[in-house]
């Protein structure tokens, strides 16, 4: 079936894509700049068409625990929020990771810390990729750079979440969530009728009872479980790295940027090349797993790297680890909800690597 072309905000695209992907349940709470997701779903009222449940919870805390309950039934369930709300969800996300439940969490990031601002930022990178809640765990983190990717990554998220029994975080930002672009929407998919064997759906006499928990008081068994998680994360690192390269073939200077910053940096590459500076861009699409291997390879080919983020410098630490001292690595970023301009990045590139 043909894809449908629409002009939509990123937030609306996520909502529409969720309905079309056959998501079973959405549980959310309003917070700027992502509220259009729940508004769109409530207006679309998919309970009448696909049977998808949409519920406005009393808090982000309740919403993520509803996701836990739904995911533990083997259903395709999701929530969305923005930075302060995502902080509130961290307890639940840790439990979901600990119980190995598949689900999608969308973070349309705004500036922080605290209440911060409602404008776009990329300052939740550490929280997203290094754990976020308590305990040793990782989310699979997808970073869309367009409205199209916000739509496409819904289905991809569930595919990965169920493949690895692991929560997936879509790390967007206020710019992509709010801006309108054309988007090709996939045709409607039936809601899945498959019940995973671990799901709690009521115990028939033919099987043992299913227990969804993240608790084990026996240190030896808990460590075995921790190691099982680590093996899973290693497999994800091995198989699921996604990135995009833009004019890297002959690049002398590599920009590393995701999401909105990657859009800005495409223009930066163009301007820099017009000025005779051979710049290239590597855009990580998965932030966990991070394209460490590829960045390491490129470190052997370029003179330096610049991590461009709308933050005080978070992803730059992963770039530094990948490069391991081979070439200089710097960070450039704006904060407080300010979107970096391509010209600023060019200036930063020049001042850090070329001088003047």
């Amino acid at each position: 079936m043909e894809k449908e072309l629409r002009l939509m905000k990123g937030n609306e695209a996520v909502a529409e894509a969720a309905i079309r992907a056959g998501v079973d349940g959405y549980f959310g709470y309003p917070i700027t700049p992502q509220t259009e997701i729940i508004e769109y779903l409530m207006e679309a009222n998919p309970a009448e068409t696909t049977g998808m449940i949409v519920l406005q919870a009393e808090s982000e805390v309740a919403a993520i625990n509803m996701v836990y309950g739904g995911a533990a039934c083997g259903k395709r369930v999701m929530t969305s929020s923005s930075s302060p709300g995502i902080s509130l969800k961290q307890e639940g996300i840790s439990y979901i990771a600990g119980a190995e439940l598949p689900c999608l969490i969308v973070n349309v990031v705004r500036g922080g810390p605290g209440l911060g601002t409602i404008q776009p930022a990329q300052s939740d990178y550490f929280q997203s990729t290094k754990g976020g809640g308590h305990g040793d765990y990782h989310l699979i983190v997808l970073a869309p750079a367009s409205v199209q990717e916000m739509a496409d990554f819904v289905d991809l998220s569930f595919e990965l979440a169920f493949k690895y029994r692991n929560p997936v975080l879509m790390l967007s930002d206020g710019a992509i969530g709010q801006m309108m672009e054309k988007v090709y929407l996939s045709p409607h998919k039936e809601r899945s009728k498959t019940v995973p064997e671990w799901a709690t759906t009521g115990k028939p006499p033919t099987r043992q009872r299913n227990i969804i928990t993240s608790l084990d008081l026996d240190p030896n068994r808990q460590e075995v479980f921790n190691n099982k998680l680590l093996a899973k994360y290693d497999e994800i690192r091995e198989k699921e790295v996604r990135y995009e390269e833009f004019q890297c073939e002959d690049a002398e200077y590599l920009l590393v940027a995701y999401g909105t910053s990657a859009r800005v940096c495409q223009k930066t590459v163009q301007i820099a090349r017009e000025q005779g500076i051979k710049a290239g861009l590597l855009r990580p699409i998965t932030l966990f797993p991070f394209p460490t291997k590829r960045i390491k390879e490129l470190a052997g080919k370029v003179k330096g790297m610049l991590s461009v983020e709308m933050s005080a410098g978070q992803m730059v630490e992963d770039v530094l680890l990948a490069v391991n001292g081979k070439v200089p690595v710097y960070h450039f970023g704006r904060m407080g909800g300010i979107v970096t301009t391509p010209e600023e990045v060019v200036e930063s590139l020049k001042s850090k690597f070329i001088g003047g």
């Binding site: 519920l55 009393e58 625990n65 836990y68 009872r209 969804i212």
Partner: protein, 259 residues
């Protein structure tokens, strides 16, 4: 000469008047001697068994002494974060509306950290059953003050007794739930005597049957004892409960369906 009867001679069909409910597993209960949890578990298991709900039931266990409830009842279980069971149960019931979904929570879980989840699940009238064990103390962590600890009652975090001026008053959350339009059947019971066990079983059976009507949340509070936390023998604790807990948390129905 006295004939000593062997155990094998006692185990005869005609002597089997009481047995383990099929829904109870063979796992050994982790509770202190004299604790009411075991009795409450047994009643719940019997009702699930007798109502034929073993394959329909999905339970949500709390954080607290009954965190390992999933060891004891042979049904599907989800273990929720502290206080979040009603939110977890909400999603289960919304996504699997034909199943019997219940939570089992203590006073710290349900009436302190989980107050918002409790009130809002009941206010939405989620078609779930909440079983609420109120023993006025945090048992699992070793006897700290709970939202339901009585005025003047000693605990490890109110060692001179609960001073309501600085520590607040005991919360009658069941009364609040009964006042919400979303709740359908709300009752307060106990399991410390044989006749109370019968009444509680009747209440849980009623709640389970009401649940099938999809008319709102049912909540069964069980005022219970905590011999270890209260630093009493089981017998003393039951007497203390009758003399001190029941006047503050009187037993009986708080809300019954209008027939």
């Amino acid at each position: 000469m006295v004939q000593v009867t062997g155990i094998k001679e006692i185990i005869k069909p005609e002597n089997l008047v009481y047995k383990k409910t099929d829904v109870m597993t063979r796992n050994i209960l982790s509770y202190c001697p004299g604790c009411g949890h075991g009795t409450a578990h047994r009643i719940l298991a019997e009702v699930i068994d007798e109502e034929g709900l073993q394959s329909e039931a999905i339970g949500v266990s709390p954080v607290g002494c009954s965190v390992f409830l999933y060891y004891y009842l042979d049904i599907d279980w989800q273990e929720a974060a502290h206080g979040r069971a009603p939110a977890v149960a909400t999603a289960i019931k919304r996504l699997l509306p034909d199943k019997f979904v219940f939570t089992y929570q203590g006073d710290g879980d349900l009436a302190a950290i989980g107050t918002a989840e409790t009130i809002h699940a009941c206010n939405r009238g989620e078609n779930i059953l909440i079983i609420f064990i109120n023993n006025g103390i945090y048992g699992m962590t070793g006897g700290q003050m709970a939202p339901t600890t009585l005025p003047g009652m000693k605990s490890s975090t109110s060692p001179y007794g609960r001073d309501v001026k600085t520590m607040g008053n005991p919360l009658k959350i069941t009364d609040i739930v009964a006042s919400l339009p979303g709740s359908y059947y709300v009752t307060r019971q106990s399991v410390h005597t044989a006749s109370n066990v019968k009444k509680t079983k009747k209440a849980i059976r009623k709640a389970v049957q009401y649940q099938k009507l999809n008319k709102g949340t049912c909540l069964v509070e069980i005022v219970s004892n905590c011999p270890s936390g209260w630093k009493m023998t089981p017998v003393q604790s039951n007497k203390w409960m009758e003399e001190n807990m029941f006047p503050y948390y009187p037993l009986g129905d708080l809300k019954t369906p209008v027939e």
